[in-house]
Amino acid sequence: MTQMAISLSRLANEEFVAPGRSGCPGCPAVMGARLAMKVLGKDTIMVNATGCMVANYGYCGAPLFPFIHSLFENAGALASGVESGLRALGKPDVNVVVYAGDGGTVDIGLQALSGAVERGHRLVYICYDNEGYMNTGVQRSGSTPPWASTTTMPEGRRDWQKGSIYAARKDMVRIMAAHDIPYAATASVGYPQDYVRKVEKAANADGPAYIHLLTPCIVGWGFPEAMGPKLARLAVDTLAFPLYEVEDGHRYRITVRPSRPKPVAEYLGLQSRFRQLGDDDGIIEIIEKQLKRRWAHLQDLAALAGPGKEPGE
């Protein structure tokens, strides 16, 4: 903890968002935007796809950096235009960051994002993943865990393949890594030190960089508003959301290794969206098994990158 505090204390004291945003108290998505801006600094243009951040910054918010709310599906393309325009005007030193939700990223915005990173624009794309369409009232997205209850799938998705290790949701980091971009990573607001380090790496990448940030949603997941960071930490500690990074599309590296993974029931039990699973121990067991297989697979991928590639070495 001490070590984390020391490193985080390097972050700018300056706030890049004036207080007085609208949006929910305790919102973890806002924590992610705030910390990213502290790393990127004020010479940054933010493009924000339609979603909760429009409710946070776009109703009565006060970003103190250039900010544009794009359409739902074109944040990647609009940011490409910003980057190309800056290049044309000879202003390459301005950071371009997209901060978009999972709906605007893994579903409707996937094509524009894929095009942007394939073309190689120099931008940092941060997807704040709250695992559903939370701003419109908790509908399921391609990033919703199949066993979660949403307003459009109250019973969750029961057709998920029990043999699948990726649990029938889009694995955006693998999708981005498959574009061979310099940097792609998962992150969690529960591990801010890991996150800010990744934002810094992404900003320094020579090309497009992608960070998939887990930001629990108080409303959509159903937990008390003080618990966002704790949930985000538990997701990592129970292997429900592993933290890793992929360089140049193939060098996998696990960045946070829970020494002894906690039982996933501890994570699921704190959220009302999993209440419909009931006391079916069978399902919890299957989920647990799935997560462990995925973790093993990740370790295999990291091992391929070779020893000496571990963090801290």
Binding site: M1, T2, A5, L8, S9, L11, N13, E15, V17, A18, P19, G20, R21, S22, P25, G26, C27, P28, V30, M31, R34, L35, C60, G61, A62, P63, L64, V189, P192, P224, E225, A226, M227, G228, P229, K230
Partner: protein
């Protein structure tokens, strides 16, 4: 005052600008820092979604804008922050 913190009016000609509003009035619980227990570790500052905790000799909270979410109290490793019900 921050140079940019003056509110810009929404202009019909320029669809830019921003506004801000004081949200503190809606708060149900108020976080109170116990300076004796506070080790100035930054964790409340890191997690505060409003960015209204100021680090320094003493850590202070801007109650005009604090929504009382309680994340600071929950994350404080030394339990130096208590949530007290507003009158």
């Amino acid at each position: 005052m921050h140079p940019w913190s003056a509110s810009r009016p929404l202009s019909a000609w320029l669809p830019g600008g921003y506004c801000r509003s004081r949200r503190g009035a809606h708060r149900v619980f108020r976080p109170v820092i116990d300076d004796d227990r506070c080790s100035k570790c930054s964790m409340c500052w890191v997690y505060c979604p409003e960015g209204i905790i100021t680090r320094g000799e003493r850590y202070t909270i801007d109650y005009d804008y604090c929504k009382g979410c309680g994340v600071c109290a929950e994350e404080c490793p030394r339990s130096a922050i208590t949530m007290i019900r507003e009158e």
